[in-house]
Amino acid sequence: MRRILLGIVVLLVLAAVGFFALAWRSEIEPVTAGTAAEFDPELVARGAALAAVGNCIACHTVPGSKAFSGGLALPTPFGTIYSTNITPHPETGIGQWSEEAFQRAMREGVDREGNHLYPAFPYDHYTLVTEEDNRALYAYLMTREPVDAAVPDNDLPFPINYRPILAGWKLLFFDEGEFEPDPDQSEAWNRGAYLAEGLGHCGSCHTPRNRFGALESGGHWSGGEAEGWAAFAIDETSPAPIPWDGDSLSFYLANGWHPHHGVSRGPMAEVTENLGTLPQADIDAIAAYVASVMGEPDAERQSRAQQILQEVESGPEMQAVNAASQTEAGSSDEIGAAIYQSACAVCHEGVRDLPFGGLHLSMSTAVNAPNPQNLINLTLYGLPAADGVRSAMMPGFGAVLSEEELLALFTYIRDRFSDQPEWNDLAERIRATRSGEYHVRVLPSDGIERGPSNIGASNDDGDT
């Protein structure tokens, strides 16, 4: 009996020691923040471009606050995490971080003092980044304005608030290691893969997550979720009615819109706004890689796309009138058609070209996707104006359309503008979104400045 007990104790101690050994990371000595003069301006400039690929500013800036000063609330299924201040401020930022500490954080997801970082910071992607690129990023960040801004404590329940537990998470879900090029692919493809899979961390949103918040293995880019928006599949199952290709992706990523796909919105707006500052070669490389993951569309998809494009070209207004007149009087379909015709068609079948006019909905991925969330979000909250720059805008209709009217409208739109089956979760999603139970963050189409908080459904404070 005693032996058994002793055995248990020994095992527990061993387990604890083992866990400790696994979880423990040393502190890296603090340094005195360097001065801008210590960094080669060319390195800083390269870092700026890399920071744009990483979209660092989006998560690390509260709208209206100083760039990179952190504090943005990131709601997760486990609780709220606040982004860190990554300006070189010695107390509240990363001013005491040596380059070594920064490299380790990117590679291993560990902060300077040795604490494990939550994977809301996507080190599962950043681990692919080269040492050289991390050096440039470090140079860029350390030459930003140091901002004295303390970040709120994370709001997480036990045991998730106990950081060493992340060591276990990493053991299960994290593969450390720099990007390894595929020698069978072109240099551009490898460059694109490196950017998209690493700093670009596309998979963070476009890959589904398991219940531990980790990317589902085998689900690479098959569609995920971000801040209340569907991040559509960008693999061969892409629901885009007009299939993407390298050229259209490149244009979209650089400009934030494409005539056959509409404008980027939701969290993607920030991504395209940032990517717009990159050299064209990098954009083309990312586009080429993404296109290769999507693969060539089959003949059926291509012919359907041709058909859609032809329909859109031919007199759209007449089609709409016919469609409306074919519906049964007083039916839900008639209501949907009437709302569409009076509230939507003016822009979505109007004379204005994209990105400032509305996309013809038969080309809309949101309408053709397996998940109606983005259509719901856009209809309820619209696309608020960006401040002081040209941007696509759309009024929200959340205040005037009832759940029944929304249901009728979306059902009509789905029926008329796609060849996909009805959404079976439509009513529930409408209800949950309208009630604020399902949180949506609303952003203007230029992305950099987040939208007015009162436009979003949620009452929580994470929005401002």
Binding site: P41, A45, A48, I57, G64, K66, A67, F68, R144, E145, T277, G315, E317, V351, R352, F356, A385, A386, D387, G388, V389, R390, S391, A392, M393, I448, E449, P452
Partner: protein
């Protein structure tokens, strides 16, 4: 009235006979006139003209009428568009007529009723109409006193006007209405008036509440947009897709059959629909636009090569100013600035109502010039002037020549096609954005040298610009007239250097510089339709000059405000500069990173209001976003009539000019305008509005009115540019100072 006439026995003849004596009486009285005192003319020469707009409309009853019930009506040829003149002009009249401003009815520009005061523009309402009404009111008051003295046989010196009555010893006060008779006020204004002295002002200088605001905030009829006449129909124009477009074909049958459609009009390239209800007209307009086929030419310039485009259009050069002989050697400082085409972008698209009948055509319009617009419309319709009446009603703020006159022409033209029914036309948003005449694009180039004391010794300034006004002066300036089958075209304008300036407005710096030359490189051809936008060339010229002043101050190692003061002699100029700097808390101390301060000064038109603006801005170099944190201004527009009106106009000017400077440029491809709504032509929204805007007024009682409305545009723009430059350590020379440009400039400067 008749009874009074009988009692007093005054006839028109008797008054007319006496008028000469009255005028003479005024001119020998002691004066506190705003205008310089004029001596009586020597031996029968032409008498000096009366002040302000009185010279053009010399009869007092053109300006002021008083009825038997003592109701006072004041007539002005100027118009209200939000600048508060209805209130300020009432104050001026009330002061001299010794009544409360609320007791005065004011009638604004109506070609059948009011004097012709041309355009309400150039911040000149107070100078022209204000001065005229002030003098006319004072003269009317003295006529009333003289008449009362005559009637009651009292010495005029014993009488005074008070609260709408003539007060005299030993009798009850007599209301004006009992003294005034049919033709009493139908007399020519004299050259001089007995104006109330500043120390006795009751009304002038007081912040009276605007008379128009209560109706506007409660939904009363306040704008021409709200005018509803019996039997009124709604019209919409289908404008061509571009200025080069010609209508090839249009099948109107389907549109004519649409519900409510009264008529479809086609006249050359001019297309319009009329319907019983407004939304029916819109639906019909949309359908008509779809079926119309146009031929277009790619004839617009390349907006990415603005400097080359402007230089290539130069056909003439005029000397704006020349002093000494500038020579450039040693350290020569140079800079080139550009300003894009920018919009008035009124919140309310232009609107007009017109009615054609046997008597002619009546048009209700928010034009800035009822009389000139009438002339243009009459010419377009081939009608005698007397058969066209233009009545002003307010519209949304226009800030210059927007679509108002064109909408009036649209309404008039369409109304003549369906006589007897009033026609309301309102432009659509995209029509206002695409067809209003823009503020012209400009380029400025400057060179200067400093002497050994850090003072400017040589200065050369060259500007390239179209003319800044193509207002109605004839049918060709109206879109409807241009698009009709027998279309008319605007003759190319000629270069004209004037004191107040046009494209060259404020091109001559206010600073003391021994050797300077200023040239206007004139561009007669207008690839884009342009006209007057608030401040005309002064906006870009002051932006350029004041930006360059900062660069020179830096070269001289002098604080920018100090540097300006070193070159300013006019004490009133120095006063506003010093006041703005003092209230702002100006210093040369380093601001925290991402913050910058900037200063701008100008005397508008070099002869009107003095205005200085100091600003602190927050600039985020990573996103490029720049925001005015606080603006502090000082303004001297002469004698203050309504201080709150001056404040309101100046605050607005600062914010509007900040919006122009930070965000605004009309965009176009080789054929069409692509800034067609607020999505494609963004202006400032609440999130970017400053935390505070202060306006400090220097009152100069007894001094002439200098006008206010446009004074802040240039100085505010310069303050924005200088503050951004101060924040990021490098300058952006091209307006607008967009996020992208800030980001790029910062990165290029090694940020």
């Amino acid at each position: 009235m008749r009874q009074d006439d009988a009692k007093s026995g005054v006839t028109r003849r008797s008054v007319l006979a006496g008028s000469g004596a009255l005028v003479l009486a005024f001119s020998v009285r002691p004066l506190f006139a705003q205008e310089p005192t004029v001596s009586p003319p020597p031996n029968g020469a032409e008498p000096p003209g009366p002040p302000g707009s009185l010279e053009d409309a010399p009869f007092l009853d053109s300006w002021i009428r008083i009825d038997a019930e003592s109701r006072i009506t004041v007539f002005t040829g100027k118009v209200e568009f939000g600048q508060g003149i209805k209130t300020a002009l009432r104050q001026v009249a009330a002061e001299e007529l010794k009544v409360g401003p609320e007791e005065i009815q004011l009638v604004t520009a109506d070609t059948a009723r009011t004097p012709d005061e041309g355009f309400t523009a150039g911040s000149q309402t107070m100078q022209n109409s204000g001065t005229a009404i002030r003098h006319a009111s004072a003269q009317v008051r003295e006529i009333l006193i003289a008449e009362a003295a005559r009637r009651f046989d009292v010495e005029p010196g014993e009488l005074r006007a008070e609260a709408g009555q003539i007060v005299m010893p030993g009798r009850d006060p007599v209301p004006y209405g009992e003294i005034v008779t049919d033709q009493l006020l139908h007399v020519r204004a004299g050259p001089e008036s007995q104006l109330t002295i500043p120390s006795e002002y009751q009304v002038i200088g007081q912040p009276f509440q605007r008379v128009d605001i209560p109706a506007k905030v409660t939904g009363e009829v306040a704008y021409v947009h709200d005018l509803r006449l019996d039997g009124m129909v709604h019209a919409r124009v289908v404008r061509p897709p571009s200025q080069s477009a010609e209508l090839v074909e249009v099948d109107t049958a389907a549109v004519e059959a649409m519900p409510g459609v009264v008529s479809v009009l086609r006249d050359g390239d001019y297309l319009a629909v009329v319907a019983e209800r407004e939304f029916q007209a819109i639906a019909a307009m949309r359908r008509l636009a779809e079926v119309a086929q146009w031929r277009e030419e790619p004839n617009l310039p390349d907006q990415t090569r603005l400097p080359e485009v402007l230089e290539s259009l130069e056909r003439d050069v005029g000397t704006v100013a020349e002093e000494g002989s500038p020579e450039f050697s040693g350290d020569v400082y140079e800079a080139t600035f550009t300003r894009p085409y920018q919009m008035h972008a009124s919140m309310g698209p232009s609107c007009a109502v017109a009615l054609a009948n046997d008597e002619g055509v009546t048009v209700w319009s928010h034009t800035q010039g009822s009389y000139p617009d009438r002339e243009a419309i009459a010419e377009m319709l081939g009608m005698p002037l007397e058969e066209v009446r233009v009545i002003h009603m307010e519209g949304a703020g226009c800030y210059g020549h927007n679509g108002a006159d064109d909408a009036a022409a649209d309404a008039a033209l369409i109304a003549t096609a369906i006589p007897g029914r009033p026609v309301r036309v309102q432009w659509m948003r995209e029509q206002e954005h695409a067809w209003e005449p823009y503020g012209p694009a400009m380029m400025t180039k400057m060179r200067a040298t400093l002497d050994e004391n850090g003072r400017i010794s040589n200065w050369a300034y060259d500007l390239w610009s179209n003319v800044h006004s193509t207002r109605p002066g004839g049918a060709p300036s109206l879109l409807a007239a241009r698009h009709r089958a027998d279309s008319v075209t605007l003759p190319p304008p000629r270069l004209n250097i004037s004191q107040a300036g046009n494209g060259d407005r404020n091109a001559n710096p206010p600073y003391v510089i021994p050797n300077k030359q200023v040239f206007w490189h004139f561009l007669p051809d207008m690839p884009l339709r342009v006209s007057a936008l608030r401040a005309l060339g002064a906006y870009a010229n002051v932006f350029s000059i004041e930006s360059f002043m900062d660069e020179l101050a830096m070269a001289a190692g002098t604080d920018p405000v100090e540097f300006r003061l070193q070159h300013l002699e006019d004490p009133r100029a120095r006063d506003v500069v010093e006041l703005a700097a003092e209230r702002f808390g100006w210093s040369s101390e380093q601001l925290p990173r991402g913050r910058g301060r900037g200063f701008g000064f100008a005397r508008y038109k070099t002869l009107a209001a003095y205005c200085a603006v100091a600003m602190e801005m927050d600039v985020n170099p990573e996103t490029g976003r720049s925001r005015v944190v606080r603006a502090v201004s000082a303004i001297d527009s002469g004698e203050v009539v309504n201080p709150d009106g001056i404040r309101n106009q100046t605050e607005g000017g600062i914010i509007q000019s900040s919006s122009w400077t930070l965000y605004e440029a009309v965009t176009f491809d080789d054929t069409r305008i692509t800034s067609i709504d607020w999505s494609t032509y963004p202006i400032m929204r609440f999130r970017d509005v400053p935390e505070t805007v202060e306006v400090h007024i220097i009152d100069r009682p007894g001094e002439p009115y200098l006008g206010t409305g446009e004074a802040a545009q240039g100085p505010a723009a310069a303050a924005v540019g200088n503050a951004i430059s101060n924040a990021i350590g490098t300058r952006i020379y091209d307006i607008p100072l967009t996020r992208q440009r800030v980001r790029q400039a910062f990165a290029q400067a090694g940020g």
